[in-house]
């Protein structure tokens, strides 16, 4: 659906169901340069099982209007604004990669508004490889190719997409090329590189939190994910073997099962 936030049009997938304000809200926040489509194997399930779902296209990404936000802090405030804009007082947040930085910061800034936090391939800081950052900021498609290489584990490189017939790396590349690379990936990478408050923000989080990590994640390795998770009181950790950074697609079923158990327990549907 489309709606307005801060005078810009925002697109969010509602998981194939009409948005229903009477149901608890789950917001999904994508990673650098990507779109709402990365969440399709999680959002549809929740949308058909008692929740209202918003898989956002961040400003300037996918089908959303406006320009990409330049800092993780601005993105965190924007997610909070989204909750207000759709008429909710609270929500459950799910983030992937950069989306983890955003949702951690948003949760720390809005302790009463966010009820559960689910992090996939998260870390307290995501310093960027300088060459990758240079390529992305200079609109070089090689930035996408490198990101897809590093972001995928065996399923991405060899195959075995949970949806028959889909090929991970090429699909991911297309998602990352939906808009101009320097205006999405370039801006996002710079925002990740600049963000330094992740570990401090994590210490302030007191709500149920889940971290899903993957053994073959080269972008946010397990040890970095654990470092973040261990700062959050009572945080749960689930580690997936033989899987890369794109676990929400590479091991979509496993991720959905863990997420389902966590959210339905800590933020049950009506």
């Amino acid at each position: 659906m489309k709606f307005q936030v801060n005078n810009n049009e925002v697109y969010a997938s509602t998981g194939g169901r009409p948005f229903d304000k009477n149901k608890p809200l789950i917001i999904f926040v994508h990673g650098s340069g990507l779109t709402h489509m990365t969440w399709v194997l999680q959002t549809r399930y929740f949308a058909f099982h008692g929740y209202s779902v918003l898989a956002l296209d961040m400003p300037g990404h996918g089908l959303s209007g406006g320009e990409s936000l330049k800092s993780i802090e601005d993105m965190a405030d924007w997610v909070s604004d989204v909750i207000d804009a759709v008429g909710y007082k609270e929500a459950s947040l799910v983030g992937h990669s950069q989306g983890c930085l955003v949702t951690v910061e948003c949760t720390a800034r809005n302790p009463d508004k966010i009820k559960t936090l689910s992090l996939m391939g998260g870390a307290g800081a995501i310093p960027m490889n300088p060459e990758l950052l240079f390529l992305a900021e200079n609109n070089d498609p090689k930035a996408v190719e490198l990101m897809m290489d590093w972001a995928h584990g065996p399923a991405g490189h060899f195959g075995g997409h949970p949806v028959p017939g889909l090929y991970h790396i090429n699909t991911g590349s297309m998602l990352a090329k939906t808009r101009t690379i320097k205006n999405t990936l370039g801006v996002d990478f710079r925002a990740c590189d600049n963000y330094k408050n992740g570990f401090e923000a994590a210490k302030q989080i007191k709500i149920p939190t889940l971290s899903i990590l993957a053994t073959d994640d080269k972008m946010c390795p397990v040890k970095e994910g654990k470092k973040l998770a261990n700062l959050i009181e009572g945080s749960q950790i689930d580690i997936i073997d033989n899987c890369g950074h794109m676990m929400l697609l590479e091991e979509a079923d496993r991720v959905l099962n863990v997420l389902k158990k966590f959210i339905t327990t800590n933020y049950p549907a009506n």
């Binding site: 058909f48 399923a155 997409h161 017939g165 090429n170 079923d253």
Partner: protein, 442 residues
């Protein structure tokens, strides 16, 4: 663009993908070879799991008409080789074309189609699709401007064979892709003759690629199969031409394929709707057979092309041959375009005219022994046919002429036998072909 050099992605290259893409042994009992999942259906964990699969909330297999794990390996493998986001395998090349068209079009829609096509494909567009309310304007493949002129308000796509069957005319794919995209419609290309080893149409602007996998991809003349590959670049939401892609679909609780699946929307719709309702599924055994062929695709294609170029040289110098059409011939009208689009080889399909016309052609066909006379191409073995009396025989004179066919034309699919044996066999054919002329001259 930056000129910064340094890191390079370590994603697997063509020959490696030909052997490995789509499959992980550790998820299949360690079986090094892809297992043949000879089953109709798949157990659900519980009622909720079943409902989620049927509603596309989860990925997975339900029933082998819709998807099958062995077939899915083939689909991923071909998608990876073509540079596509997704693929859907079908029971034959013709069912791939039909399913692609039915995914794209509705009654009242129109397509612009190259006139140089396999005879069965011509009949599909000319005679069968009008029964579904889908009309076609045919344009000669070299008439690039003609494609633009033929586009109407209700045109939903352009379709053609990159190298036309059987005359070897080549579509200017990059320019025709631009024409299509300027009109807000996709370009669909049948790249059966090329395989992704010779050309990846998606890199040249095609949005949907179809193959008869029966031919060079499988390569051994054993199994029927087809596939639709999606490029993932086409924006279905850029206009209101494709409501079945962009609007809520009643068949899946209001799902919008374009919104939910973006770069894989076409494949998702083709599978969810097309396979569900038409059902031209590929058998797992045939999928496995095609996978065996793809493992050696680059090795075979190199040999096919090498032999083809030697046969071109032989035919050009032969007294019984009136003309030779192959993109490797320097005076072929599309030689330069072919060099750009087909850098790894110009393919192994040759059309040539035999002196003495139809009677000589028939005598030639009846007297070659090594070359097989049959209605197929892309076998490891050398194949010959006389199109006017076989593959294109259901066409009338005018349609034959429009399709660029003549009665003296022999279609040759060069195999990977020893080249001297192929030439010796042809000598026998040509010798026999000269006899009726000698008789008629007396």
């Amino acid at each position: 663009m930056s000129d910064k050099k340094g890191m390079d992605p370590k994603t697997y290259k063509f020959d490696t993908l030909s052997l490995h893409a789509g499959y992980q042994p550790h998820k299949n009992a360690g079986s090094r070879q892809v297992p043949i999942y000879q089953t109709t259906s798949y157990l659900f964990d519980d009622v909720d799991h079943a409902a989620a699969l049927f509603n596309l909330e989860r990925g997975g297999h339900i029933y082998s008409r819709i998807s099958n794990p062995t077939v899915a390996v083939l689909e991923e493998r071909v998608a990876s080789l073509e540079g596509g986001t997704a693929a859907l395998a079908t029971s034959s090349g013709m069912s791939a074309i039909f399913l692609a068209v039915m995914t794209l079009c509705e009654a009242g829609d129109h397509l612009v189609v190259s006139s140089q096509l396999y005879g069965g494909t011509v009949n599909l567009f000319r005679l069968t699709l009008p029964k579904f309310g889908i009309k076609t304007t045919f344009v000669k493949p070299r008439d690039t401007e003609g494609f633009k002129k033929a586009i109407q308000k209700n045109t939903k796509g352009i379709f053609g064979e990159l190298v036309g069957n059987p005359g070897n005319e080549i579509m200017n794919m990059p320019e025709i892709a631009k024409i299509a995209h300027d009109a807000g419609i996709p370009l669909m290309v049948d790249a059966t003759y090329q395989t992704p080893y010779l050309c990846k149409p998606i890199d040249h602007g095609a949005d949907i690629v179809v193959h008869s996998l029966t031919k060079w991809m499988a390569g051994h003349g054993s199994s029927m199969a087809g596939i639709i590959v999606e490029g993932g670049k086409f924006d279905w939401m850029q206009n209101d031409k494709f409501p079945t892609m962009t609007q809520p679909y009643e068949g899946y609780h209001g799902l919008s394929f374009a919104e939910e699946f973006g770069p894989t929307a076409f494949t998702m719709k083709a599978r969810a709707e097309g396979m569900r309702d038409f059902g031209p599924c590929l058998s797992p055994q045939n999928a496995w057979n095609v996978l065996q062929g793809i493992e050696t695709l680059s090795v075979r294609m190199k040999k096919h092309c090498e032999n083809a170029e030697k046969m071109v040289e032989y035919l050009l110098g032969h007294e019984s041959v009136a003309w030779v059409s192959h993109p490797s011939v320097p005076d072929h009208p599309d030689h330069d375009l072919a060099s750009k689009l087909l850098p790894n080889g110009k393919g192994s399909m040759i059309a040539f005219g035999i002196k003495g016309g139809k009677a000589a052609g028939e005598a030639f066909i009846n007297n070659v022994k090594l070359a097989s006379h049959l209605a197929n191409v892309g076998d490891t073995r050398t194949l010959v046919i006389h199109p006017a009396s076989a593959t294109h025989s259901q066409m009338d004179e005018a349609t034959l002429k429009f399709a660029g066919l003549s009665h003296d034309m022999i279609r040759l699919s060069v195999g990977i036998e020893d080249i001297d044996d192929i030439k010796n066999d042809f000598e026998n054919g040509f010798r026999a072909a000269r006899k009726p002329r000698l008789v008629s001259n007396q």
